[in-house]
C-alpha cells in the first residue's frame, strides 16, 4: 500500500474564476440549507441565515471538502474562523480571497 496523493487538490492547474466560485458557493449554501431550489435562483445578497437559507455548519469538514472538490483548490483549515459574513456574496468573497492567496 502506498500513499497516492494525486487526488489531492493542492496545486490547482487553473485557479477558479469568480463565476465558478459563485456557483460553487451557491450550490453549497443550498445544500447546507437543506433546500431543493435551483442554486442559480439564490441572489448574492441573500442572508446566510434568513428566511430562505439556514447555513449552520460553517467551517466544518463537509463544507471545506465540498468546496475544495468543486473548485479543485486547497483551502486553509481556518478559512471561516473568526470571520464575519452574513450574505452569500460575503462567503464567496472569502473563498475568492483564499483562492487568490493560494496562487
Amino acid at each position: 500500500m502506498s500513499t497516492d496523493t494525486s487526488a489531492t487538490p493542492s496545486a490547482p492547474s487553473g485557479a477558479p474564476d469568480r463565476a465558478r466560485i459563485d456557483d460553487a458557493v451557491r450550490r453549497l449554501v443550498v445544500s447546507e440549507s437543506r433546500l431543493s431550489v435551483d442554486p442559480q435562483s439564490i441572489s448574492d445578497s441573500e442572508p446566510l441565515n434568513g428566511p430562505l437559507l439556514k447555513v449552520n455548519s460553517i467551517g466544518f469538514l463537509g463544507m471545506l471538502i465540498r468546496l475544495e472538490e468543486d473548485l479543485d483548490v486547497a483551502l486553509p483549515d481556518d478559512l471561516f474562523v473568526g470571520r464575519s459574513f452574513t450574505t452569500v456574496s460575503d462567503l464567496a468573497d472569502l473563498v475568492t480571497a483564499a483562492v487568490e492567496g493560494a496562487r
Binding site: 447546507e32 431543493s36 463537509g62 463544507m63 465540498r66 481556518d78
Partner: protein, 427 residues
C-alpha cells in the same frame, strides 16, 4: 501515516476473534467502565476543545455540538449496556433449514471489515462508532472534525483500553487525529483499505462521501419527511401525529416537514391544528397553504396563550426543505395520487407517514411511496431502531442496498451461508 492506520485496521480484522466470542460482549462492558473511569480526563480535553472553539469565534450553537456533559456519559454507558444485551440475537447464526433430503443450510454473521466513519462536531459519534462497529467484529477508523480533536484523542484511548482489556486487538479502533483532508481523500480513493464508509454530519459531507468514492456508503440522505392526511383520517389523531412528528425533536432526521392534507378535510384539519399548536408550550410556526381558510385573528382565538405561535404563508421553496426548527408546513393536495406525486418529487426516502382509517388508502399509499420507513397512523418519530425494537442504532440509512432504515447491529455484519452437505455431489 494514514496507510499505516489502514494497514493496522486490516491486520486487526484478521486477528479478531470470531463472531460470538465472549470478548465482544465483554468489550461493551469494558467500554462503559473505561468511559466512566476516564471521564474526568475526557471532560478536561473537551473543555479544551470548547474553549478553543469559542476563542476562534465559533457561534454558540455550533459550540454546543462540541460540548460533553455528564448526561452524555449516562447515555453512552447505557448504550454500551444495550449493545451488550442485544449482541447475541443480532449476530447469532440463523436456524438450520433442511435442503431436500441431502443437507441443510444456515447463515452466520461476519463483520463487514474496515469501517471508515467520517463525522463532524459531535464527540458522542466517536463512542457510538467505536461501540457498535467493534461489537460486531469490525475495525473502525474514526475521522472526526479537528474541532473535537482533543476530546477524540481521550475517547480513542478509552476505546483502545476497553478493547484490549476485553481481549480484542487494540488496532480495531483508530482515531485519526490528523485533520489533513488529503488523508481522508486517500482513504476514499482506496477501496482496498476501507470496506464501508459511514458519514454522519452536514449535507455537504454526506453528499461528498456519496460522490467521491467507490467504497459502499451507508448514509442518511436527510429527512424531508411528510405525513399524508387522508380524507378518512381521524382528524384529532392526525393533528396529534402531525405536531408530535415535528415538535418532539425539531432537528431530528425523522421529524416532519410538511403535512399533505386531502382537500376535502384540509380546512377542518388546519383549524384543529392551529388550535392545538397554540396550546403547545414553546415556539411553533405553521406555514400554511394560502388556499386554506385563513386563521381568525389571533386576538380572537379563544384559547391562545402567548406561546410563540406564528403562522406564515407556505412558499414553494418550502417544498423539499428540511427545517431544523419548530416549524412545519401544511399543503393541500387534491387526492392520494397528488400526495404520492409530491413525496416522489420532494421526499428524501427517509420517513413517510399516512393517517387514514381506510385500509385501501393505506395499502395504496404504502405501496406507492418509497421510504426507509412508512408509518401508518403514528408519529414519524417512531422511526428509530430502539423504538422499533431493532436495538441500538448507529444512524438511519436512506440507501437501497444492504440496509434501509435503522443501522442497527445486524446491519453492521454481512451474512454468509454455511451448507452442510453430508458428502453430496452436484449432478
Amino acid at each position: 501515516m494514514i496507510e499505516e492506520a489502514a494497514r493496522t485496521a486490516r491486520a486487526a480484522c484478521a486477528q479478531a476473534p470470531p463472531m460470538g466470542d465472549p470478548a465482544y460482549r465483554n468489550y461493551c462492558r469494558s467500554l462503559g467502565d473505561q468511559l466512566t473511569a476516564q471521564w474526568p480526563q475526557i471532560r478536561k480535553a473537551n473543555e479544551q476543545d470548547v474553549a478553543a472553539a469559542e476563542e476562534r469565534g465559533m457561534p454558540p450553537t455550533l459550540v454546543d455540538r462540541l460540548r460533553l456533559t455528564d448526561a452524555h456519559l449516562d447515555l453512552l454507558t447505557r448504550l454500551a449496556d444495550e449493545v451488550h444485551d442485544a449482541l447475541p440475537e443480532a449476530t447469532g447464526p440463523s436456524a438450520e433449514t433442511p435442503i431436500g433430503d441431502w443437507g441443510s443450510r444456515r447463515r452466520i454473521a461476519k463483520p463487514l471489515g474496515v469501517v471508515l466513519m467520517v463525522y463532524e462536531a459531535r464527540p458522542t459519534a466517536t463512542v457510538e462508532g467505536a461501540l457498535l462497529c467493534l461489537a460486531t467484529g469490525n475495525a473502525v477508523l474514526l475521522r472526526g472534525g479537528k474541532e473535537i480533536s482533543a476530546t477524540n484523542a481521550e475517547l480513542g484511548l478509552a476505546v483502545r483500553r476497553a478493547a484490549e482489556r476485553a481481549g480484542l486487538p487494540g488496532g480495531l479502533a483508530t482515531v485519526l487525529d490528523d485533520p489533513d483532508r488529503s488523508q481522508l481523500r486517500w482513504l476514499l480513493s482506496h477501496p482496498d483499505a476501507v470496506d464501508v464508509l459511514i458519514p454522519r454530519g452536514s449535507p455537504s459531507l454526506i453528499d461528498y462521501c456519496r460522490t467521491a468514492t467507490s467504497i459502499p456508503v451507508i448514509a442518511s440522505g436527510g429527512g424531508i419527511n411528510h405525513v399524508f392526511v387522508h380524507s378518512s383520517a381521524d382528524l384529532s389523531l392526525a393533528v396529534d401525529i402531525t405536531l408530535n412528528s415535528k415538535l418532539s425533536e425539531p432537528t431530528a432526521c425523522n421529524a416532519l416537514e410538511l403535512a399533505l392534507v386531502e382537500r376535502r378535510v384540509a380546512d377542518e384539519f388546519t383549524a384543529r391544528l392551529r388550535t392545538a399548536a397554540r396550546r403547545h408550550e414553546g415556539p411553533v410556526t405553521l406555514r400554511t397553504d394560502p388556499s386554506l381558510v385563513p386563521a381568525p385573528d389571533s386576538a380572537d382565538a379563544p384559547d391562545a396563550p402567548d406561546t410563540g405561535f406564528r403562522e406564515e404563508p407556505l412558499a414553494e421553496h418550502d417544498f423539499g426543505r428540511e427545517v431544523l426548527e419548530p416549524s412545519l408546513g401544511v399543503l393541500v393536495v387534491d387526492d392520494l395520487d397528488a400526495a404520492v406525486a409530491h413525496v416522489r418529487r420532494y421526499g428524501s426516502a427517509h420517513t413517510e407517514g399516512i393517517v387514514a382509517e381506510d385500509p385501501s388508502a393505506v395499502a395504496t399509499y404504502t405501496a406507492a411511496v418509497d421510504a426507509a420507513a412508512l408509518i401508518v397512523n403514528g408519529s414519524l418519530r417512531l422511526h428509530d431502531g430502539p423504538t422499533m425494537g431493532l436495538g441500538p442504532e448507529l444512524s438511519i440509512s436512506t440507501g437501497r442496498l444492504h440496509v434501509s432504515g435503522p443501522v442497527a447491529l445486524d446491519s453492521l455484519v454481512t451474512r454468509q451461508w454455511v451448507v452442510s452437505a453430508n458428502g453430496t455431489l452436484r449432478h
